[in-house]
Amino acid sequence: MQSDILRGRVWRFDHDISTDVLSPGAYALDPVEVRRLHVLESVNPAFAPGVEAGDVVVAGRNFGCGSSRETAAENLKALGVAGVFAESLSRLFMRNAIAVGLPVLVCAGIHETFADGDHIEADLASGRVLNVDNGIELHSDSLPEEMRRILAAGGILAVLRDQGKR
C-alpha cells in the first residue's frame, strides 16, 4: 500500500516535454532496461544516468504530450522516479502514469517554485505541495479517489489481478 505523502529531490523540466523525448520511438521495441537509459536524453543527458530512486520530476505545461505510449510513464518509474508534478499534464500521460502506478499531480505555480535539486513534499490526498528548501507551499487539486485507489493497488493490472482473485 502506497502512502499519499511523497518526498524527494527535484529534477526540473520546461514545457511540452513530449513522449518522443520520454520514450524515443527508436527504442520502442527495446526492453525497459534499455529504454530507461534514453529518457529525456535530448533535453537533459544527465538525467537518466543521474536520477536516483525517490527523485521526482517537476515540469511546466503539457508534460507528456504526444503519443499514447505508456513506456513514457513506465520508463520514469523504472528509473525510480517517485512522482511527476507539472503545471499541466497531457491526458494520456496522466492515465498511463496512474495505470502503471506512477503518482502524478497537476499543480499551478510549481514550475517557477522549484529549481533543480530542490526538495519537495507533497500530499496526493490533499493536494498540498511544499518546497522544503524555500518554504513555499502550493495548493493543487487533490488526485481523484478513483486514481488514488489504482495507485494504491500498484497500477491497473494489479487491480485486474485482484478482481480475478475475488
Binding site: 511540452d16 513530449s18 518522443d20 523525448v21 524515443p24 520511438g25 527508436a26 520502442a28 521495441l29 535530448s42 533535453v43 505545461r61 503539457n62 504530450c65 504526444g66 503519443s67 499514447s68 505510449r69 505508456e70 510513464a73 499541466s88 497531457s90 491526458r91 494520456l92 492515465r95 498511463n96 495505470a99 502503471v100 481523484p144 478513483e146 497500477g155 491497473i156 493490472l157 487491480v159 485486474l160 489481478r161 478482481q163 480475478g164
Partner: protein
C-alpha cells in the same frame, strides 16, 4: 439542461440517463484498437494476469501498421507473435502489414459508427470523432484491462465548441484550419477537453477533411475531437457498403466551457515550425526555408484526396534537385484508387518514392528518417524533437498542397503562388 456529444456518448456507454462534465463513469467499450507497437505486449500481459479470453473478440481490431514492412528482425518476430495471438484469441478484424494505417482502416472498412465509444493504443484514436464516435487513446495496461473486462473508467470532459464559418480560399485546406487552431489555442488548448467542430463551414467539410481535423484535435490535448453525424457521415457510411446513419447531434442548449466563433474566409495556408505543433505561422512568413525531404502521408493526410491535392500542385513538374519526396498512402484502398485515377503516376513522374501503406517515417520508426541538420516538411501531425530520426533535424508541418509546392521549389513554398515551380 441539454448535453454535448461527449456527454451523450459517455452516458449511453455507462448505462446512465445523463452524465455531466466532471463526472467519473465506468463505461462499456464498443471497439478496442491495438496496433503492432503494443499488440504483442498487450496480449502477453493479458496472459500474465491470468486472462485467457477477450471480453468480445468481435469488438477488437488489430492492425500491423507501424513497422511495415518489418524493418528489423525484432519487428518481424513481434509481428509473428501478434499473428499467433490474433489466431489464438479468435480476433477476426485483423489487418496485416500492407493493408494500411489503423486510423484509415477503421473508418474505411466500416468499423466506426456515430455514437460509439472507441479506445485505441494510439493517441490519434481521436480520428473517429470525424464520424461522431468518441475515440480516444489509452496505454497498454489500460488496454489489457479493457480487453479483459470490456469496461474502463472515464472522466466526462468539458467541451469546447468551435463554430466555423466562411469558405476556404483555393489551395487552403482543413489541415490549415486545424494547424491554425493549434497555433491560436495552443498544444494544451483543449487539454482533457472534448472539441466539437460545428457551424456552416463544417457542413461543407468532406469526410477526409473531418478525419484530418479530428486526428489533430489530439495535438491540442483533446480527449475527443467530434463532428456531429450528418448527411456527409451518412453518405460516407453508405459509400462503404454500410447502412447509413441518422443525424447524431448535441442538444442546442448543451453546456459548453467555451464557444469560439471563427471565420475561415481569410485563412492562409499554415505551417507549424519546429519543434512544436502550436508554433504556427502563415506560409508567407516562412517561405524560402530550404528543405531536404518532403513527406506526404500519415493518418492525418494520407488519403486519396490528399494525394490528389499534391498531384494537382505537382502538375507534371519534377521536384527540385536534392529533395526527396516520400509518399505513404494511408491504405491499400487509397493506393489502388491512386493507381486507377492516375494520381500515382503523377506522383512518381514528379520524382516521388512510394512507400508501403503504413506509419514508418511519421513516428521516426523507419523508411525515410532524417539525419542531423536535415529539414523536412510533411503532412503528418507532429514535429517534436527527434520525431523523424535525428534530434538535430527540423520538421515543419503543412497541408498536402504546401508540401507538394515545397517539394517542387526545394524550399518552403506557398501553394497559392505556383510560379515557384521550376524557380530553382
Amino acid at each position: 439542461m441539454g448535453v454535448t456529444l461527449a456527454e451523450r456518448i459517455l452516458a449511453r456507454a455507462a448505462g446512465q440517463e445523463q452524465v455531466a462534465a466532471g463526472d467519473f463513469v465506468v463505461a462499456d467499450i464498443d471497439l478496442a484498437l491495438i496496433h503492432d507497437i503494443f499488440a504483442a505486449r498487450v496480449f502477453d500481459l493479458l496472459t500474465e494476469v491470468g486472462v485467457d479470453g477477450l471480453f468480445d473478440p468481435d469488438k477488437t481490431v488489430v492492425v500491423i501498421d507501424h513497422l511495415v514492412p518489418a524493418p528489423t528482425v525484432e519487428a518481424a518476430a513481434v509481428h509473428h507473435r501478434i499473428r499467433e495471438h490474433v489466431s489464438r484469441l479468435g480476433i477476426t478484424a485483423f489487418y496485416d502489414a500492407g493493408e494500411g494505417i489503423c486510423h484509415q482502416l477503421l473508418p474505411e472498412r466500416g468499423h466506426v459508427r456515430p455514437g460509439m465509444l472507441i479506445v485505441g493504443t494510439d493517441s490519434h484514436t481521436t480520428t473517429y470523432g470525424a464520424l461522431g464516435a468518441a475515440g480516444t487513446g489509452i496505454g497498454t495496461s489500460e488496454m489489457v484491462y479493457a480487453l479483459a473486462t470490456g469496461r474502463l473508467w472515464f472522466r466526462v470532459p468539458e467541451t469546447i465548441r468551435f463554430e466555423l464559418t466562411g469558405d476556404l480560399l483555393p489551395a487552403v485546406s482543413w489541415k490549415d484550419v486545424i494547424l491554425y487552431l493549434a497555433g491560436r489555442f495552443g498544444a494544451d488548448g483543449a487539454q482533457y477537453r472534448a472539441m466539437e467542430f460545428a457551424g456552416p463551414a463544417v457542413a461543407n467539410c468532406d469526410m477526409s477533411s473531418r478525419l484530418t481535423v479530428a486526428n489533430m484535435a489530439l495535438e491540442m490535448g483533446a480527449k475527443f475531437g467530434l463532428f456531429a453525424a450528418d448527411e456527409v457521415t451518412d453518405a460516407y457510411l453508405r459509400d462503404r457498403g454500410g447502412t447509413g446513419c441518422e443525424p447524431f447531434t448535441p442538444d442546442p442548449d448543451a453546456s459548453y466551457e467555451a464557444i469560439h466563433e471563427i471565420s475561415l474566409s481569410d485563412l492562409a495556408p499554415q505551417v507549424a515550425l519546429p519543434n512544436e505543433v502550436d508554433r504556427v505561422v502563415p506560409v508567407e512568413d516562412i517561405e524560402g526555408v530550404t528543405i531536404d525531404q518532403a513527406f506526404l502521408g500519415s493518418c492525418t493526410n494520407g488519403r486519396i484526396e490528399d494525394l490528389q491535392a499534391a498531384a494537382a500542385v505537382l502538375n507534371g513538374h519534377r521536384i527540385a534537385q536534392g529533395v526527396r519526396l516520400l509518399v505513404a498512402p494511408a491504405s491499400r484502398d487509397v493506393l489502388q484508387e491512386a493507381m486507377k485515377t492516375g494520381v500515382l503516376e503523377s506522383l512518381v513522374d514528379a520524382g516521388a518514392s512510394i512507400l508501403a501503406p503504413g506509419c514508418g517515417p511519421c513516428f521516426g520508426g523507419h523508411g525515410g528518417l532524417l539525419g542531423p541538420g536535415e529539414r523536412c516538411i510533411g503532412t503528418h501531425n507532429r514535429n517534436f524533437i527527434g520525431r523523424m530520426g535525428s534530434p538535430e533535424a527540423e520538421i515543419y508541418l503543412a497541408s498536402p498542397a504546401t508540401v507538394a509546392a515545397s517539394a517542387l521549389a526545394g524550399r518552403i513554398a506557398d501553394p497559392r503562388r505556383l510560379e515557384v515551380v521550376g524557380a530553382e
